[in-house]
């Protein structure tokens, strides 16, 4: 599932996800749509932008997904806006991402979800722990 209010970006992301051998089950532009989609067609994974058509509701979408046990990543231009716990996300891909960055992130996500934990995360994917560690360093 792709939750993104910029249609062109959503479309290209869909193409990149499909090129990596996955299927996009649905697209949502708001929290409401994301919630409906979640109920009608449970996805294996989701990409979630923070700023949607009904406001900065991406974080709520993230919490809905986490509650439903669906893994996801945020795709956002402002990952500083994420809460410390990343709302339960695996990580975040910061916009504007590159083709290579997205490809590597997709490879890493597939491996992790497929149960292969023996892979290194690419630089394009910011993990929740990284942010916690860097913010600890800042405060320390």
């Amino acid at each position: 599932m792709i939750v993104e209010d910029e249609m062109l970006l959503a479309m290209e992301l869909e193409s990149e996800v499909e090129m990596a051998g996955h299927q996009v089950g649905g697209m949502a532009v708001s929290r409401t749509q994301a919630r409906d989609l979640l109920q009608s067609n449970r996805p294996d994974f989701a990409f979630v932008d923070i700023h949607l058509q009904d406001g900065p509701t991406g974080i709520d979408v993230g919490r809905d997904l986490a509650a439903a046990g669906i893994p996801f990543v945020f795709v956002s231009g402002n990952i500083k806006r994420l809460p410390e716990d990343f709302a339960g996300a695996l990580g975040a891909i910061e916009k504007p991402y590159t083709v290579n960055g997205m490809k590597n992130a997709l490879g890493y996500i597939s491996a992790i979800i497929g149960g292969n934990l023996d892979v290194a995360p690419p630089p394009s994917l910011v993990l929740a722990e990284d942010v916690a560690v860097s913010s600890l360093r800042r405060h320390g």
Binding site: S15, E16, T98, P122, S124
Partner: protein, 375 residues
């Protein structure tokens, strides 16, 4: 009524006796009467400790004549704003027979208040018994009002400062919001630009056109990465070239997806002013891109990337070993022009050595230490 009259007479008599006891020419009594310092004497041995004597200065200060005050307790000087705590302290001092110096708000006959620096002291006879209380008054309303004026002025100034600070904070907050909004839009627009190029590259059937589009995409993405990295540091005016290089090279090699490319990195943080971020990032992008074009992505090989400071210089080195493939002249030329132009912009020197299959490119530029640290 008669009682009161009698008390007044007793007090008057005591005052007369006190003055009469002094020799006519006694300089102390003369001084007491003539001094500009308001003074009174009270008799604690009479009922309610009445005033038995006041001098002319006291009459001038309070507006009461001697006749009006003699026989009365001093409390008639108190009024609605007089501190009860001060009154209690004076009463306690009198009861204890001790000295007291205290500031108290008193009232004149006409009802006007004044700040009184009161000094009260018992006068004892040879046996140590208290025979009188002596009190001097000093009107310090001027000082007090200056204090009040100063306090009011300070208060106004503080209010003014608080108001300005609030305005400034609001302005800074609005500016910060604006900067974040602009940053967000720039990022979104860069990704939208990249998406349009990707769309075109995806749709086109022409391989040459597709290659050209992907070459454009590659440079747009280099700029995107710069924009993204600019705002990850708290200090937006500085940019770490090593951090950019790590992400760019690791992502590129990762995406090529060949196990036979061996990547080694020797990267040390080198902070440059934000204005140099774009040309320097394009240099790194072109050097690594060139290695990939010359065959690294086809036959694999080693690639070693160095970013570090060296003897006051800043060195970017890209070294690769690859089996050369036929190079697309047009894209090689675009890469060369971008590299040369960017190098000229930051006054960098480019040296290229080819030794068999090993190609080494060194880009050096003088890093002005002051500039590196300046904002």
């Amino acid at each position: 009524m008669q009682d009161k009259e009698k008390r007044r007479h007793d007090a008057q008599d005591a005052g007369d006796r006190l003055v009469a006891r002094q020799v006519r020419e006694d300089p102390f009594a003369a001084a007491f009467k003539a001094t500009r310092m308001p003074m009174i004497v009270t008799d604690p041995n009479q009922d309610d400790n009445p005033i038995i004597f006041c001098n002319a200065a006291f009459e001038r200060l309070t507006g009461y004549s001697s006749d009006e005050v003699v026989g009365r307790n001093c409390r008639f000087l108190q009024g609605p704003e007089t501190s009860q705590e001060a009154v209690t302290r004076i009463r306690d001092a009198v009861r204890a027979g001790s000295d007291i110096a205290i500031d108290i708000l008193n009232y004149r006959k006409d009802g006007a208040s004044f700040w009184n620096a009161l000094f009260l002291s018992p006068v004892r006879d040879e046996a140590g018994k208290i025979v009188y209380f002596f009190a001097s008054q000093l009107d310090f309303s001027n000082v007090k009002s200056r204090e009040a004026d100063l306090a009011a002025a300070r208060h106004r100034a503080e209010e003014e400062v608080a108001r300005h600070t609030e305005t400034l904070e609001a302005a800074v907050k609005a500016k910060t919001l604006l900067v974040h909004e602009v940053d967000h839009r720039v990022k979104n627009n860069l990704l939208t630009m990249a998406s349009i190029v990707k769309l075109q590259a995806r749709i086109t059937k022409d391989d040459v056109q597709k290659r050209a589009l992907l070459a454009v995409l590659n440079r747009v993405e280099a700029l995107s990465t710069v924009q993204r990295k600019l705002f990850t540091l708290d200090d937006v005016s500085r940019f770490d070239i090593a951090d950019f290089t790590r992400e760019m090279v690791v992502d590129l090699v990762g995406a090529v997806g060949r196990d036979d490319i061996r990547l080694t990195l020797d990267l040390h943080p080198v902070y440059v002013p934000a204005v140099k971020a774009t040309p320097l990032s394009l240099i790194v992008n072109e050097l690594v891109g060139d290695a990939v074009r010359r065959g690294l992505s086809d036959g694999g090989g080693d690639i070693h990337v160095v970013v570090k400071r060296l003897n006051g210089h800043f060195l970017i080195r890209v070294q690769d070993t690859s089996i050369p493939v036929k190079v697309d002249e047009e894209s090689a030329e675009v890469g060369r022009i971008l590299l040369d132009t960017s190098a000229r912009q930051v006054e960098a020197k480019i040296e290229k050595h080819v030794d068999g299959h090993r190609t080494t490119v060194d880009v050096t530029l003088l890093v002005d230490a002051a500039q590196e640290n300046s904002h």
